[in-house]
């Protein structure tokens, strides 16, 4: 693994350990929010590059996990808002790991896609990543009350789409 004078081999090793431990989670967040596996891969790589570029500073402060999560969520939302960012010529399709195909994923993604993008991010952070209300609010720059209400509404909507039951009946059947 190459190094440079500023980061040094030790820092590269630390960063490598971070990537190996965090990338899978970050990619899951990005994928569920943006709905596109390749885009999610790119988003995570961008976030990791940003983390690496600021590694020396981030590692001394709160740690890279929160920074990377914020970068991934914002980029995933942002990428949906600015699809033209993706328009690019290429001749090479890089090797990409494929998502796990369990036969259910398309239905879940379809249901997720029906949620407003911030609500989708709230649902993913709260229920998939198990991030608490306060931290989710901080990551998304919204209030804790909004996180709670959006998480509840989002989950009810998902159930409605996946099961066919009306959203307003969810409370009774949950």
């Amino acid at each position: 693994m190459g190094t440079d004078q500023r980061t040094g081999a030790g820092l590269d090793d630390e960063f490598a350990a971070f990537v190996l431990s965090a990338q899978r989670r970050l990619r899951r967040v990005a994928y569920l929010v943006c709905g596109d596996w390749h885009r999610a891969e790119d988003i995570v790589q961008t976030a990791l590059a940003q983390v690496y570029a600021r590694w020396d500073r981030i590692r001394r402060e709160d740690g890279p996990e929160g920074y990377a999560h914020r970068a991934v969520v914002n980029a995933a939302i942002d990428e949906r808002r600015r699809p033209w960012r993706r328009e690019r010529a290429t001749d090479v399709l890089p090797d990409r790991a494929a998502p796990v195909d369990d036969g259910v994923t398309p239905a879940v993604l379809e249901a997720l896609a029906t949620l407003p993008k911030r609500q989708r991010a709230v649902v993913v952070l709260r229920y998939v990543e198990d991030i608490d209300v306060e931290q989710t609010a901080a990551l998304l720059g919204i209030s804790t009350g909004t996180v709670k209400s959006q998480a509840s509404k989002g989950l009810a909507s998902l159930r409605a789409h996946l099961t066919g039951a009306p959203a307003d009946a969810m409370g009774e059947s949950a």
Partner: protein, 470 residues
């Protein structure tokens, strides 16, 4: 109503979510790629880079900078868009021309385009290299229309600039990166301002055949576009769209981009824009030509939009606000004003952890009173006089939220307009990593930064072009 998966409780839904997003473990090659991209990102953070040439370049230039997501382990551009130029394109889905070879159809369209632009133009089946200007992909090319060297039009092309054109029905042709997009006409017609580049909203233009096309222009602010070495670059383009009765539309793009080695001056910049302006009507004639394939299918019964992407009055107000605040510090995306990371005066913020935006809206008298009148523990807004003599009220604040170490701040300008509407123009910022120890420094720095833009906010709040729908 029946869902695809049958009855389940919340825990089951959450379980599905978790498994849906799962993927394989990262490998050492993922690490190496992240480090390579990170190094590249670090070098480029403060430098606007122009990548690309011709059509591909314009798209990237329109985006402002290379995003590191597009860099592979060697720092080269390689993105997963379905854009392999060697692939046989899919034929158009509608119309009798669908059976025609899509590649041949693309060439036929370009032939029409070359003829429409005049005798100084020709089709070059391999005129546009894939990849970017700093790293072209050898042997992989797109067909484009180009200007014939030595022709009168070629003489007007600034030295070391490249003029190319592409046209067809988006989604049915390979030529031109922009034409591959699945964006709707309405989406394409939205204005954007980013990092010193401007994409205008569409505006209607009658053609010589009495049809109406939509014109959109991409322009760079002279002197704002630089490559990684700090050398000036330049790019301009005209896009024409023609909505067809079946809901599809024809797009024709004319791109003029400085290449490596070009000496960009105000004169070359202006010449490029003038040349595109002079070719606009010919480009429009092509777009409205019924011979552009594939032929449209049956009418969808809807009248083609007269003003696709036309901003709402609120979107237009935000555009005026962005104009007042200025690029590249503030950009405009989807009708919203956003703070551009690491651009313009972002570097004057007290840390690299800021994000934010700006907005202008109409507020009620009671909202204004609540925000600006003196009350216990709160001073009234400060009254100031704008350049035109209007009285405005301002308030700026910033503080740390100790529960999450975030800083939040707002700079607001209130103006009671002659029509009785009260306009609120405001910049909102948030930042992280604000501790008790650095609170004062961060708050003071934020308030000082707000001061830099207060005149611009006042100008926006008092801008007579603003309209507010009740």
């Amino acid at each position: 109503m029946t869902g695809p998966l049958g009855p389940m409780d919340d825990d089951s839904v959450i379980g599905l979510l978790r498994s849906a997003g799962d993927g394989p473990d990262p490998t050492q090659s993922d690490v190496a790629r992240a480090i390579a991209a990170g190094r590249k990102f670090r070098r480029k953070r403060q430098t606007m880079q122009v990548v690309g040439s011709g059509v591909a370049a314009l798209t990237v230039v329109a985006l402002g900078i290379t995003t590191v997501s597009a860099l592979d382990g060697d720092g080269r551009q390689s993105v997963t868009a379905a854009a392999d130029p060697t692939n046989e394109p899919k034929p158009g889905a509608q119309g009798p021309a669908a059976s025609l070879s899509a590649k041949q159809q693309n060439l036929d369209n370009l032939d029409l385009l070359a003829k429409a632009l005049g005798s100084d133009f020709r089709v070059n089946p391999k005129g546009q290299a894939a990849g970017d200007s700093t790293d072209p992909k050898e042997g992989l090319t797109y067909p484009v229309v180009e200007v014939i060297p030595g022709s009168p039009t070629a003489e007007r092309v600034p030295s070391a600039y490249k003029l190319t054109a592409v046209g067809g029905v988006p989604g049915t042709v390979t030529a031109g990166v922009q034409l591959r997009t699945n964006q709707s006409l309405d989406q394409k017609c939205k204005p954007r301002v980013e990092k010193g580049t401007q994409l205008s909203a569409c505006s209607p233009l009658p053609t010589i055949n009495d049809r109406i096309v939509q014109v959109q222009e991409f322009r760079t602010e002279f002197g704002k576009l630089q490559d990684s070495t700090g050398k000036l670059r330049d790019a301009a383009a005209t896009m024409i769209y023609f909505a067809r009765p079946d809901g599809s539309f024809v797009e024709a793009d004319l791109n003029l981009v400085s290449q490596a080695g070009a000496t960009v001056t105000r004169e070359t910049h202006d010449s490029a824009e003038n040349l595109l302006g002079d070719l606009r009507d010919k480009l429009a004639a092509f777009a409205a030509d019924p011979k552009v394939g594939p032929a449209p299918g049956a009418s969808n019964g809807q009248t083609p939009p007269e003003n696709p992407g036309r901003p709402t009055s609120d979107e237009q107000n935000q555009a005026y606000l962005q104009e007042a605040l200025g690029s590249p510090t503030f950009g405009l995306y989807d009708g919203k004003v956003v703070l551009e990371n690491n651009k313009g005066r972002y570097e004057d913020l007290p840390s690299d952890y800021f994000s934010g935006g700006a907005s202008i809206e109409r507020i009620s008298q009671s909202q204004f009173d609540a925000a600006c009148k003196a009350r216990t523990g709160l001073l009234p807004c400060e009254e100031k006089t704008a350049e035109d003599g209007s009285k405005v009220y301002t308030r700026s604040w910033a503080d740390r939220d100790s529960t999450n170490d975030e800083l939040r701040g707002e700079s607001a300008v209130y103006f009671v307009r002659p029509d009785g509407n009260i306009a609120l123009a405001m910049i909102s910022l948030t930042s992280t990593r604000v501790t008790e120890a650095n609170r004062d420094e961060q708050v003071d720095g934020t308030l000082a930064w707000f001061d830099l833009f207060q005149d611009a906010l006042i100008k926006a709040a008092t801008d007579p072009r603003m309209t507010f729908e009740r």
